[in-house]
Amino acid sequence: MSTPSNSAGSPMQEDNGSVQKQKNANPTENRPFVLKKWNALAIWAWDVECDTCAICRVHLMEECLRCQSEPNSDCCVVWGDCNHSFHHCCMTQWIRQNNRCPLCQKDWVVSRTSK
């Protein structure tokens, strides 16, 4: 996904660059509005199939249910090899009883965490 956009991007950017120079020079009679600065804003979220934790039913971007009621906690997200994700705290509790992914029942192997 990233490679094509990059390669496709470069000729366009050259194009842009020339427009940019022209723009930066001055607004013209025909183009009275010229961009000087753009403060772009985005919000990020985990790129996951299911964005709520199947264990505590809270959105993965927020602290898990337990951590919300007990302040001062580092709540993070954990991914398994099966590519399912949960709150790390929820999963720690879960695997004490059952070492399988609650969603697909495969053996739970941690692939990475958000920390």
């Binding site: 842009n16 509005f33 000087k36 403060n39 919000i43 996951v48």
Partner: protein, 762 residues
């Protein structure tokens, strides 16, 4: 060894002691020695010594009795008695010392009952002298007290002596003060009561209530001192004296005195109020009326002040908060100066002030729930407080004018008022929205103050999850600074993108901290000039953070654009991305008119946003000349004037005015309040507040039922209010609705025999 031999030597010393004649230290020591010898070596010594000593004492008391009997008038009787008594009383603690051995032996030979020597002395005195004349002595003592009350100087020692006689002479074990209480104390108290009852009614009508209060205040002080002086304070019933005085002086006229309370409060006559308080404080129930007066005063005064300035206050959060603080200080001063900060009055002040703060009759916000029904009518205070906070923390005229210390002080004042606000959840929501805007638009006056405010909100007990979100937002902004720096570095490093790096600032925020924005997100088509940058930014971010996806929040983004007018003007416009999108439509069509419909097609902005954006470009408040013009004839254009065919075109004569002169260069900020999402759709905002409250109530009820298993409606309501108090005060309606919902969904049920008792269903 013979008893008499020794006693002959001891007797003169004993006699001298009894008659208070001087005894040399040597003699005094000898006496110990003689007593020791007699008690140790003479057979039956102790008994004989006790007998003979008793006889000596008896002889002395008889002598004294003779002297007193000769005195005729009551007054000289009292004087004479006191003289003799004082001597004897002093002796009663000296003479027994050498005979301590007798008292010790007494304990050992317990079959026979002997009193200690001192008791023997006092009993004898009582038997021979005091019991016979105590009645007339008491009458005389009380007469002296009355004299003193009338303002004459009397010999206080006489009264004290009589008290001592009553207390000291009737020391039956286990009922030491009984005789004293029944006689001296009882009559003393009766006399107090009688004395004041007789004169006070008349005094009140003669002096008028205000002067009477001065009198009563003075008399109560005097009586307090008198009691200390004349009464035996170890007697538990001695407090009855003050009670009697208070009844006679104050309680009998309580209504008349309290009738003045409201007027004195209204006139803020602190001195008289203090006096009134000192009097009423001693009564049993009078303070309740004072509390009512204070409560009524604060409520009416507070609301009147608000009502009189309602117009200016509603639009000016600063004035509103200042007004509240002025009132609070005024009421606190009243309680402090007039009522010595009595805890009961402080509570009354808090209660009444809370009512003023939360009053919804003047500044109200109507909360609607999703079904569009009115859900609650609440004070606008929370919202105005949050707006004021924003004014202090943002770069504004106000915050520029104030010093750092002044801002701190004012923020503390906000927190003080916040304590009284019931719908704290509304405050937190508005505060958070303001903070988002300050951070995103980089308008914070001082980052440190932002952090301090978060800490303070935590300290004053705001719910921790809400405060945590605020502090996560602040942390996130810090992370972003680094991210933006490395983004620029990456751009500059690669293929000649320096100009791009200069013109782009990227913020990527943590969805968890800032709200996922799902519902807030507005779809529209980004102008090509901006869209070109998006893949670049996404590629960069992906490289930095694997496993994250970005969601663009264009309704929160903004930028600067250079605007060159046909008449040669050159302006920097600070505008929102939506405004940019509209303005970019005019590039290559600089002299055309573009219809609203075309603009809608080009930008794909939803109608509400499009209207708001266009309105901000054709009718920005407080600006003489506008960026765009439209063919709406009216002077005060509102979005209702717009139709699909309304045409918009560039104002090529756009200019700024500074010091009365038109300017062809300059900077304009057109963002204003556009990005305060709360303003955009207050209704939606209220809906989500209501929805959240409904969840909180459900959660609270379940939590209570889980521990209680069964509970009554009254108890449930009470506990629920306690749990939710830091957020809001649930009203009866919401509680009832949520109970019904929980019953319907089988979380709980009503007990069949009692519909007001609920049972938890696991």
């Amino acid at each position: 060894m013979l008893f008499d031999d020794e006693w002959v030597k001891a007797e003169p010393i004993v006699n001298a002691l009894l008659h208070q004649k001087s005894v040399t230290p040597a003699e005094w020591q000898d006496l110990f020695f003689y007593v020791y010898k007699i008690t140790s070596w003479v057979e039956d010594g102790p008994q004989r010594l006790r007998d003979i000593l008793t006889r000596e004492i008896n002889g002395y008391v008889q002598e004294a009795s003779e002297k007193i009997r000769k005195l005729k008038s009551d007054e000289s009787l009292l004087n004479g008695y006191i003289k003799e008594w004082n001597r004897f009383y002093r002796q009663s603690s000296i003479l027994p010392l050498p005979f301590k051995k007798l008292d010790d032996n007494r304990v050992k030979s317990s079959e026979q009952h002997f009193e200690p020597i001192r008791v023997v002395m006092l009993d004898k005195w009582n038997e021979v002298i005091f019991s016979k004349i105590s009645d007339s002595l008491l009458i005389e003592a009380l007469r002296l007290v009355k004299e003193e009350r009338d303002g004459n100087i009397v010999n206080a020692d006489n009264v004290i002596g009589i008290r001592e006689s009553f207390v000291g002479l009737n020391n039956q074990f286990g009922e030491e003060l009984l005789v004293y209480q029944k006689t001296f104390e009882k009559q003393f108290i009766e006399q107090t009561s009688e004395y004041y009852s007789k004169i006070c009614g008349k005094l009140l009508s003669e002096l008028g209530v205000l002067e009477y209060m001065v009198y009563a205040d003075k008399k109560l002080d005097e009586e307090q001192q008198r009691a200390q002086k004349y009464l035996e304070m170890s007697s538990p019933s001695s407090i009855r004296h003050m009670e009697a005085a208070v009844i006679a002086l104050v309680e009998n006229f309580e209504d008349t005195i309290l009738a003045e309370c409201s007027r004195l409060i209204a006139e803020r006559d602190v001195e008289r109020l203090q006096r009134l308080y000192r009097l009423i404080r001693r009564t049993r129930t009078g303070i309740d009326t004072v509390l009512k007066c204070i409560d009524a005063h604060i409520r009416t005064e507070g609301l009147n002040d608000m009502k009189n300035n309602a117009d200016s206050l509603a639009t000016d959060p600063e004035k509103y908060v200042q007004q509240l603080l002025i009132m609070f200080d005024k009421f606190s001063a009243l309680v402090r100066e007039g009522f010595c900060d009595d805890a009961r009055l402080l509570t009354a002040r808090d209660k009444a002030f809370r009512a003023v703060v939360n009053d919804s009759s003047i500044f109200k916000t109507e909360m609607m729930n999703k079904k569009g029904r009115s859900f609650a009518v609440e004070s606008k205070c929370a919202e105005l407080l949050a707006n004021y906070c924003d004014l202090l923390l943002r770069k504004t005229q106000l915050s520029k004018k104030l010093t750092s210390e002044e801002i701190d002080e004012k923020l503390n004042q906000v927190l003080l008022v916040l304590k009284y606000v019931e719908n704290k959840d509304v405050f937190m929501r508005f505060h958070r929205a303001h903070l988002s805007r300050r951070l995103i638009l980089e308008m914070s006056a001082d980052q440190e103050k932002e952090e301090m405010m978060v800490t303070k909100l935590r300290e004053c007990g705001m719910p921790s999850d809400a405060v945590n979100k605020l502090s996560r937002m602040l942390q996130d902004i810090e992370l972003n600074k680094d991210m933006n720096a490395s983004f620029k570095k990456a751009l500059t490093g690669t293929n000649n993108n320096k100009s791009v790096a200069d013109s782009i600032n990227l913020k990527v925020l943590n969805g968890g901290a800032w709200g996922r924005g799902g519902s807030e997100k507005i779809r529209f088509s980004l102008p090509r000039e901006l869209e070109d940058f998006v893949p670049e930014m996404e590629a960069f971010y992906k490289k930095q953070h694997n496993g994250r996806k970005l969601c663009w929040m264009h309704h929160w983004s903004s930028g600067t654009m250079v605007f060159g007018t046909g008449s040669g003007g050159r302006f920097d416009l600070e505008i929102t991305t939506f405004q940019m999108a509209v303005l970019f439509c005019f590039n290559d069509r600089a002299n055309d008119k573009i219809s609203l419909e075309t603009l809608r097609l080009a930008t794909e902005l939803p109608d509400a946003e499009l209207m708001r954006t266009l309105l901000s470009l054709v009718a920005y408040p407080k600006m003489r000349s506008q960026i765009l013009l439209c063919d709406v004839p009216s002077q005060n254009i509102t979005f209702r004037d717009f139709t699909d065919s309304t045409n918009f075109y560039i104002n090529h004569n756009f200019h700024l005015i500074k010091n009365g002169k038109p300017q062809q260069r300059g900077k304009v900020n057109l963002i204003g309040r556009l990005q305060l999402s709360l303003e955009a759709n207050a209704e939606k905002e209220h809906e989500s507040i209501v929805a959240l409250r409904e969840y909180r109530v459900q959660e609270g009820i379940v939590k209570i039922l889980k521990t209680r298993k069964t509970t009554t409606l009254a108890q449930l309501t009470m506990e629920l209010v306690e749990i939710l108090k830091p957020l809001f005060i649930p009203n009866r309606k919401i509680i009832k609705e949520q109970i019904d919902w929980l019953i319907e969904n089988q979380y709980m049920e009503r007990r069949p025999d009692d519909i007001n008792t609920f049972v938890y269903l696991a």
